[in-house]
Symmetry: C2
Subunit: 246 residues, 2 copies
Amino acid sequence: MLIIGNHVSPYVRKVLVALALKGVDYEIDPIVPFFGNDRFSEISPLRRIPVMIDGDLTLCDSTVICEYLDDAYPGHPLKPADPADRARARWIEEFADSRLGDLMIWRLFFQKRVKPFVFREPTDEALVARTIEADLPAAFDYLEPLMPPAGWLFGDRPGIAEISLAAFFRNAELAGWTFDGARWPLLAALVGRTAALPAFQALRPCEDVLLRTRPLEQRAALAELGVSIAAETHGGERPRPGIMPI
Amino acid sequence: MLIIGNHVSPYVRKVLVALALKGVDYEIDPIVPFFGNDRFSEISPLRRIPVMIDGDLTLCDSTVICEYLDDAYPGHPLKPADPADRARARWIEEFADSRLGDLMIWRLFFQKRVKPFVFREPTDEALVARTIEADLPAAFDYLEPLMPPAGWLFGDRPGIAEISLAAFFRNAELAGWTFDGARWPLLAALVGRTAALPAFQALRPCEDVLLRTRPLEQRAALAELGVSIAAETHGGERPRPGIMPI
């Protein structure tokens, strides 16, 4: 099992956590977001990460990959058994991927970490402020009543809904944002419980190292942490602006 | 089973075709895209259509709805049984929803039909030309090698992949665009076979009528065609610019 992707992407994080929960080993080709070469465009036509290659199957969308993992690797099911609950879990995943992705990745993480450090462009501070003061609170107001008083959303184990939420909150944290847990206590508790899982905790050293390591030195830095690194075949030498990295 | 949505949306069309293939009856609240009221925002926080309400379950994403229909209504499975083929079908659905949605909806249908007739703004003809001459051919070049020489993509029946492709091609057709089938013959043949299914054909009169009927007269026009219309609870009197209709 090969994953092409970078630990700083929340969509990659979803898949790596799912693989860890299922106990599936993988190698990672730690492509730098935005750096994919022409061969990368061929296997990921929307230039998204993560890409998963399992035998002769290549997939390049985190939701489709996690559905496949649940179909092909039965350990630790990521979705509940009841059809209505399965749908509710998928909807929370979609809300995280779409809405939290827009807010926490494109308006926080991209503005605070990618624009100044990758593209040498200034952060749009007004957009960041509006996101923190208005748009994120509206998203949390929607999520809070859906959260469980304790434990997990569906049944006795965390699944794709919890993984998706916590994956995006981590990027907002990496962008320097702090969650006001007192205002949305159930959401804060669920995200906290999920982020504390060993499957999430094990990725934090990689995330921290990647954020402070220059693109062309990242493979070596991850190898030093003991990560199984695949041969590089899909990365270029510099970013291509204007493409979708997720 | 209640569907809130409009026949001109490809995402609504996906769900209506899936319901027809499965033989599930429904009522429709034919909300006009962009017209949802505050109550609509509460049940569809991203203001997307379609919304599906089945008992106490409310869903507002076409992919999640179709997954639910497959889990809850076993007639005419929309996905193949093999895990790898299921993943391939889901990826084609995702490619259609994301990439063909961007190109055929936002750059063709929105520009040619919605901007001038709903928002009284001019079409960006340069964007339309670039989409037709460069971006759509690239998307079709990617899809063509994935298409079957005859029959259906997976097994002996059309499923979510075929439905998704044909749903978007229909909107491009409604925008006045014509497909060059000679250049991508397998894709043209598959889309043609799918569009010819009774489940698609039955919707065409509704689509044609809606496109030439003013928003506040659409419910009556659909009722005249014999469509089961639900009580209106989610529509406003005028469009709200700047929101997501899909």
